[in-house]
Amino acid sequence: MNKRSSWALPYFIFMVLFVVLPLLMVVIYSFQDSAGNFSMANFSKFITDKDSLSTFALSIEVAIENTLLCVIIGYPVAYILADKKLNKSAVTVVLFILPMWVNALMRTLATAELFNMAGITLGKGTLLFGMCYDYLPFMIYPIYNVLNKMDKSYAEAAEDLGAKPKEVFMKITLPLSMPGVLSGVMMVFMPTVSTFAISEFLTNNKIKLFGTIIQENINNSMWNYGAALSLLMLAIIAITTFLQGKSSEDTVDGGAI
């Protein structure tokens, strides 16, 4: 080991202690029963338990719905923000990013309070609203970034070749901004799958998501089952990351954050 690489040692130790070891423990715990013997019981419990399965399905469904909602709302916002003719100041961009700086729990509690005040019953609608509100900036920002950095001459070239404004958008701007959309999707989808606080506060625990079950199990000292569920979630996140990496290889370096 030469001198330079020994500088990395503190980071290496940190990574082992706080990233690698916990992950290993999750893996080990998930393949053990409460007595500490090797067992697949945790996984078979999950597969046979109807409640767990339906919660899992609901979590994925909510995550997909939320991500779609964020794309549908976020893309036009990002487009308008990146258009120099429509948005002449950088302040508006900051205004949209500003909520990211406020703790998500506080925002969620405040949203729940607002719904209570307005007399709206908490349920799936309020859950989606809260999630979308929380995660929208994570969708807007990467798309805005890509659109903002995009060479204007692409759009001009398309126009020059006879494309109407709508065609310019569909054939050039939209495909070229896909890397931004994809990283936005990643940044919204993954945290939504694992969230539990938002569903707890915004549905009064009426709707349980996958993250909620993990939290409940661990709180009730069911470490092994909790670890197995966590491992499942990690697998989902790994798969989505892998898929995203795959598709962004095919597109251009679009300058996602």
Binding site: S153, E156, L161, G162, K171, V252
Partner: protein
């Protein structure tokens, strides 16, 4: 005229916050010609091209094509195509789809698109590249695809915005020849923008030299090179010696302290003029007899084909000379110039003229500052015309001692002094003759002695 394809009249454009980018441009472009807009950066050439393409709207004036008004027509409806400076090839499409982009939009049948794409690829010597990713191509290849993508649509006019600027020298030379051949083969009108005067001379049928939003000269490459109309054009196109001279009478001009025969007429007697001598037009010999003037070789540099020498003439002027033979530094040489090779130009101005207002009988305000002057006997508020000779303007390093400040925008070496153009903060221009060396964009302070300020009362129109 029927052979005119594009007519530009009274075209003006200012950008927000002030300066005029284009100032009353009038120009027509003939069908099938290779026209180059040439000028330094910021002269308005790209702005003009973008207006023809439709990406910018003029403030005033009109552009017509085949008699139809183009202003107000969006770019996608204009029958012309553009080759962009950095190519702007669509990175998510392959070579075929890039070229077919315009044809697909027009709904050209698939098999005809195939035919036209392969034909145009052959024209740019890029056959068999259909399936390639555009990012995997070299700069020169991307350039060819960009040209192919434009001409496949068979535009009536092809606009090219410095298309070769990003290529290395060798590649640029090759592409110049190819572009010229392509132009001949296609018979399309080319409008080409460049700041490279050599490129313009090589390629064009017609060159439009622009500076500061105005057309300086329109002509064939030969005209522009041999008969520049003003010192800007002479300085911008090729190397040149630009000197102050006096037209003694028709066919006789005096400069660098000697009289020369020339071929120009009609300037009047004893008229101040600018004289342009191309460095290759000075005949230089080691023999002193028969020479029109003599000088001492100050430096001699080998430039590949020729030697470039700076010679101090017998009357203290410096001249640049190019010759196939080298002459030893320090040696005395004899020189002469053929009457045909002396280009005489009207002086655009012989002294600075400003509009001013009297502040008191011995203070006058102009150029955004108050100058002391000799007692005029005029009253405060009187409108006056102020004239100052070029060599009577003092330039100072320290702004605090100056009455007003400005930036050096143009430098012309006149053989024994520099002729500077200075743009003041008030936006006016001051011309200064000086022996001191200043750099372009230098901030200078301006001062004028009271005795050098000449004031005449402006005649009231009422």
């Amino acid at each position: 005229m029927t052979d005119r394809i594009i007519n530009i009249s009274h075209l003006s454009k200012s950008f927000p916050g002030g300066s005029k980018v284009l100032d009353d441009i009038n120009l027509y472009i003939r069908k099938g010609e290779f026209l180059t807009l040439l000028g330094p950066s910021g002269c308005g050439k790209t702005t003009m091209l973008r207006m023809i393409a439709g990406f910018l709207q003029p403030d005033e004036g009109s552009i017509t094509m085949d008699g139809k008004e183009l202003t107000g027509v969006p770019p996608h409806l204009r029958p012309l195509n553009t080759v962009f400076q950095r190519y702007a090839l669509f990175p998510h499409l392959d070579v075929y789809d890039n070229i077919a982009f315009g044809l697909k939009l027009k709904g050209v049948p698939e098999d005809e698109i195939d035919k036209r794409v392969s034909k145009v690829l052959k024209l740019v010597s890029m056959s068999d590249y259909e399936d390639r990713d555009v990012n995997s191509l070299s700069g020169g290849q991307q350039q060819r695809i960009a040209i192919a993508r434009a001409i496949v649509n068979r535009p009536k006019v092809l606009l090219l915005d410095e298309p070769l600027a990003a290529l290395d020298l060798k590649m640029r030379k090759d592409m110049q020849i190819e572009l010229k051949e392509m132009h001949k083969k296609l018979g399309i009108t080319f409008i080409y923008v460049t700041h490279d005067q050599e490129e313009a001379l090589t390629l064009s049928d017609t060159i439009v030299v622009m500076n500061e939003g105005k057309i300086q000269q329109i002509g064939t490459p030969m005209d522009i090179y041999n008969e520049p109309v003003n010192s800007f054009v002479a300085d911008f196109i090729g190397e040149s010696n630009i000197l102050n001279g006096t037209m003694i009478k028709d066919r006789e001009v005096s400069f660098i302290g000697h009289d020369f025969k020339c071929v120009d007429e009609g300037f009047g007697e004893n008229a101040p003029v600018d004289v342009v001598i191309r460095p290759e037009d000075v005949i230089i010999k080691s023999k002193l007899e028969g020479a029109q003037f003599t000088g001492k070789v100050k430096s001699c540099t080998f430039k590949g084909v020729h030697y470039e020498m700076f010679v101090d003439t017998d009357n203290g002027y410096e001249m640049m000379i190019q010759d196939y033979n080298s002459f030893e530094v320090g040696s005395t040489v004899g020189m002469s110039i053929n009457p045909n090779d002396i280009q005489v130009m009207h002086k655009e101005r012989v002294c600075n003229t400003f509009e001013g207002v009297m502040k008191s009988s011995d203070t006058v305000e102009f150029l955004g500052g108050e100058f002391k002057c000799l007692d005029t006997g005029l009253e405060a508020g009187d409108k006056v015309t102020v004239t100052v000779k070029f060599n009577k303007v003092d330039l100072l390093d320290h702004e605090d001692e100056a009455i007003c400040t400005g930036n050096v925008v143009f430098i012309l070496y006149k053989g024994d002094h520099y002729h500077l153009t200075i743009k003041t903060e008030s936006g006016e221009k001051v011309w200064v003759d000086t022996d001191d060396i200043w750099d372009k964009n230098d901030l200078v302070g301006i001062n004028i002695l009271p005795k050098d300020i000449h004031i005449t009362k402006t005649a009231e129109n009422e």
